[in-house]
């Protein structure tokens, strides 16, 4: 993915995020925020047994966090908890600057360069941390 392509994906998902401020009656809510910055996002998850049937979100955050949430939601809907955790693991590998599975992350590869920006890695990871917590909670 070129820098220009990454930029476009991030900006598109920031300006028109997927499933932001959508109805979430009966969904499981989880909040995710960073201590060091002001990003603050609520994720709402609808489970069907072990499969993520839907996710919506609301809240306030920077362009990286919002776009990352949007992309994550697109990629995780329809996945089982195990598949979702696998995806999250690959995402962390990417933001840590390690080799990762590009086919699995799809659009989310736009954050490949973020491992070099100390401050912004936490922003990209933010929604993943939130959903990871929610999935582990669901599995309990």
């Amino acid at each position: 993915m070129t820098n220009e392509e990454s930029r476009d994906i991030i900006m598109n998902n920031y300006l028109e995020p997927y499933h932001r401020n959508m109805p979430h009656d009966g969904y499981e809510k989880t909040n995710t925020r960073n201590v060091s910055c002001i990003d603050n996002i609520n994720l709402y998850i609808k489970w069907k047994d072990d499969t993520i049937e839907d996710i919506t979100f609301d809240g306030e955050a920077c362009a990286i966090s919002i776009s990352s949430t949007s992309i994550m939601i697109k990629n995780l809907i329809g996945k089982t908890s195990k598949e979702a955790l696998e995806y999250i693991k690959e995402f962390y590998k990417m933001t840590d600057g390690e080799p990762f599975n590009k086919d699995l992350l799809k659009d989310a590869c736009c954050y490949e360069e973020i491992s070099k920006q100390k401050g912004r890695k936490v922003c990209a990871n933010l929604p993943l941390k939130g959903i990871e917590k929610a999935i582990l909670e669901h599995l309990k």
Binding site: I38, A61, C62, A63, I64
Partner: protein
């Protein structure tokens, strides 16, 4: 002004986060290195030359602070770790004992967390009421609004002299006058005021004052608690230990030293206090009035340049301090800070520790520029150029 005194300013960096903390001039750094290198003994302990010098230097800072804020007595100057500790000591050590259930304290919605949370805790513990002085359309405190909320139950007004988000300068002298006519104590949170303008505790007639050295070119971990002597006498020491006691033979025979030592248990931040003395000499040399006037002019220059930019929404157009808070249309404040950081411009994004401001101003997050005397017109020009191109901001914010 005085840029050559600051080692960091030799680098390509524009530092606009002075409300968070200030840069340190070389003389202050050198003073602390001198202590650590040449006389690193403890204070109030030894009978040898090195230790004597420590005492002298440490107590000289107290003299300097006393004159700097125009206190009457040396005993009124207590060294703490900063504004936060000073405010907590005042609330916990003095007012917790004094206040009764349903007594009222007045603060505002733009106070820093350190002037809110200690009161909230006291509210939970003793049933006191925390009430708010309404702010006017500019988010200012006015005497008229203060009059509206004073009741026979009001015992304390605790407010910042200059708030760290709006930067308004509160009419402290008038507030103290009205308060004292009604038997109300006034605590001044001077964290943003003392570094930027002359604060004269006698003239203002405040009962307590708290401020931090690190926001005024001094070291971190040092602050001041000022209190009128007759009040400080009743302030319960928050911690007990060495240095502050006369003798302790049994629980019923604890004898504490007089002020100010009584409130300074344990080994203090000696290097910091000594460095802080140098800081005050340094600021005195420049002159607080000059600092304040320069910052006011600089702010006005920045505001005049930002006002024509349609995509910039300034929250506090009016205000006489060096604090400018704004948002860029449809851009999250943190993204603006990231963008400016790419050009080595340091600004703060966020809610600036005044979380409840949201309820009055209606915005959660802002970008904040806070100026100090070493900032320049040129730096402002650079900033304005970076902010004037909206497309560039949006393009480069990620």
């Amino acid at each position: 002004m005085n840029r050559e005194d600051f080692p960091l300013l030799k680098e390509e960096i524009i530092y606009f986060d002075n409300s968070a903390t200030s840069l340190k001039p070389k003389c202050v750094i050198d003073k602390m290195v001198d202590y650590y290198t040449n006389y690193p003994a403890n204070a109030h302990r030894g009978d040898y030359d090195l230790s004597y010098k420590v005492d002298q230097e440490y107590e000289e800072t107290r003299e300097l602070v006393k004159d700097f804020i125009h206190a009457r007595f040396l005993e009124e100057i207590i060294f703490t770790s900063g504004t936060t500790e000073s405010l907590n000591m005042i609330v916990t050590g003095f007012f917790e004992e004094l206040l009764e259930a349903n007594d009222e304290v007045l603060i505002t919605t733009s106070e820093h967390a350190s002037n809110v949370l200690p009161w909230f805790r006291l509210a939970n513990k003793k049933g006191i009421k925390v009430n708010y002085i309404p702010l006017d359309n500019n988010y200012y405190v006015t005497i008229d609004n203060l009059k509206k909320v004073i009741t026979p139950k009001t015992k304390v007004i605790s407010i910042a002299g200059i708030t760290n988000v709006i930067g308004d300068i509160r009419p402290i002298k008038e507030i103290c006058k009205l308060a004292h006519e009604n038997n109300i104590f006034v605590i001044l949170d001077g964290a943003q005021m003392v570094p930027h303008m002359k604060v004269d505790v006698e003239d203002l007639d405040v009962d307590f004052l708290a401020f931090s050295a690190h926001k005024m070119c001094g070291p971190t971990g040092v602050g001041v608690l000022y209190g009128k002597k007759e009040l400080l006498e009743h302030l319960e020491p928050p911690i007990l230990g060495g240095g502050m006691n006369e003798s302790f033979d049994s629980p019923s025979e604890i004898y504490l030293k007089e002020l100010p030592t009584r409130l300074e248990a344990g080994t203090r931040n000696i290097a910091g206090v000594i460095g802080f003395g140098e800081t005050i000499k340094y600021l005195n040399k420049i002159g607080m009035e000059r600092i304040h006037n320069y910052e006011t002019d600089l702010r006005k220059y920045l505001i005049d340049k930002l006002l024509p930019l349609k995509h910039i929404d300034i929250i506090n157009i009016e205000s006489d301090s060096g604090i400018i808070t704004f948002n860029v249309a449809n851009v999250f404040s943190q993204d603006v800070a990231y963008y400016l950081n790419k050009y080595n411009v340091c600004v703060r994004a966020g809610n600036h520790c005044a979380k409840i401001l949201k309820s009055s101003v209606g915005v959660n997050n802002t970008v904040r520029i806070s100026l100090y005397f070493y900032n320049t017109y040129e730096e402002i020009d650079n900033l304005v150029e970076l902010l004037s191109n909206y497309d560039k901001i949006v393009k480069e914010m990620i």
